[in-house]
Amino acid sequence: MNRLLLGLVLATIAADAAYAAGPDLGAIQQSATNWPAIGMFLFFVVLTLGITYKAAKGTKSAADFYAAGGGISAGTNALAIAGDYMSAASFLGISGLVYTSGFDGLIYSTGFLVGWPIVLFLIAERLRNLGKFTFADVASFRLDQTSIRIISAVGTLVVVAFYLIAQMVGAGKLIQLLFGLPYLYAVIIVGVLMIVYVAFGGMKATTWVQVIKACLLLGGATFMAGAVLLKYGFNPETLFAASVQVHPKGDAIMAPGGLVSNPIEAISLGVGLMFGTAGLPHILMRFFTVSDAQAARKSVFYATGLIGYFYILTFIIGFGGIALLMSDPSYFKLGAAGTFDKLKDMIGGTNMVAVNLANAVGGPYFLGFISAVAFATILAVVAGLTLAGASAVSHDLYAQVIARGRTTEKHEVNLSKLSAVVIGIVAIYLGYVFENQNVAFMVGLAFAVAASCNFPVLAMSILWRGTTTWGALAGGLVGLISAVGMVVLSKAVWVVTFGNAAAIFPYDNPALFSMPLAFVTIWAVSSLDNSRRAQRERAAFEAQFVRSETGIGAVGAHAH
């Protein structure tokens, strides 16, 4: 039972909102074309394309392309970070989870938030002081460029690939449901728009698209939660009491349910969410868009507030769904005698709770608005991912590994744009291929790889003097392979996708095992490494340390 629930929850956090409806998957009907939603979405597209046009005119140098010229303010960056983090999965998935299980939704909200203090205390300022465009700049600061850039870029591309597939498939399903557009059209629209944002507008456009979407999403969610609370006299207690009365599980929704009955699984999930946040390449990139460490620090503080506020809103929205939708048959597929299952028969599946609630509190135009915001949300997140992937290809793999630093800035940026186009096309293709595959585990896997490969390499190279190239390379590889391997051997892939009888790895979340394995490998291999290069690398720690702690000598992303 526990497995089943965890599977369901994993399905929920995947952006793949519609997929998470599980049993409904085969039965997704393309709904009637939703004109108000399409109109509002078109408005968003026109607005963001205008911004992209403006950004493209101002994007000349590599610093402009990768880091928006380093000119993003702390407040704007906070909105962009929050936007990257508030995916359609958080909004639709967590409110849907609260709707079905009440309290258990809060477990995910907290898990997604607690990584941010860690990012602030250990990573953000040092990253800004040491790096320029990608986190590989930082990890390879005193280590061998070629090896470290390869492992960082591979870690980045794996995270981006899994995250992107989940988002693309989710986007296709969601748009099919919300707008009444065919799946393939939806995937192509998302893919083409993200290519345009990234290839023409670079980080500037990607940031502003994210900021606009964050404002729309926060505004829409605030209105919805406010409308729900208004109906209950702004007293959450009254809302909870009303919810408990109509929910089939009754008072049980106020307490932990089946989500965390296996402590190891729960802790492993927590480790993945917490430290994965500190290794997501599209989030780490944002620390290079601000002018200095102070701004990096402030942006995490504001972003944590915005994200925490957003999760509290989704919790209220979930309960609003229980209290306001559950007793209204018009939101359900009715059975023969006009009966319906409150938890299973919601039109569009339980991930549509927030969307249906929008209709209940704000009418069809607000429904259209929220649908458009959900689409915009996916679009902004995939654009950020695409830029992170393109940077890894051009700045890390091409410029440093293949061309060995002998390339021009213009050439590198052009290659990055080309990479964005290729990544976009590949994403469209994968979105199409994976339409009916189980992609629910992919976001969880992306977090696990980020926590087990990117984070250990980054943290150890910054914080531990003893780290050597061999250590970081071996540890990163071990983390990457073990995280992917454990997920392949777990139930989600080994049983559900490959059709084997029993899972070889007993847990759905590998991070509790794969992340320490990576750290131990970095430590062990580095300690055994007594080559001359290793000695030079340890000796070079001092200079890196001074710069990471003080910012003295730090490179701004401004063009010189």
Partner: protein, 124 residues
């Protein structure tokens, strides 16, 4: 510490414009020896470590209670509908935000002041 004159990069690494600015710098050694630098690093490391541990304890304590003591989490607060677990969950969210706030407040005043003093003393 004396090793800083050995250069920053692995021997086979290609030259790159980024590292050039941070190349062999006798000043590094001087900065490391200043009391301001040592104090800044010691204070910030300690402060960051304490806050990190607090976050880990609070979050994994919350998850642990959910895993091991569900009945405690279900206890009603003040005879209403809301459970203790719900307050704890909201507390974890507020706590995470508060911790980042505390760190930023401390960094904006104390750490930045130390850092500025350091930069003045090494003439940057």
């Amino acid at each position: 510490m004396s090793g800083s004159t050995l250069g920053l990069r692995g021997g086979t690494a290609p030259p790159s414009s980024r590292a050039a600015g941070a190349a062999v710098d006798p000043q590094i050694d001087r900065i490391v020896r200043t009391p301001e630098f040592q104090q800044l690093v010691a204070e910030r490391t300690r402060f960051g470590l304490i806050l990190t541990i607090l976050m880990l304890v609070v979050y994994f304590g919350f998850i642990g209670l959910i895993a091991f003591d569900k009945s405690l989490m279900a206890v009603k607060v003040g005879g209403g509908t809301a459970s203790l677990g719900l307050f704890m969950g909201v507390f974890v969210i507020l706590f995470a935000f508060a911790l980042t706030g505390i760190y930023v407040a401390r960094a904006n005043t104390r750490f930045d002041a130390l850092s500025d003093a350091l930069k003045r003393s090494v003439g940057q």
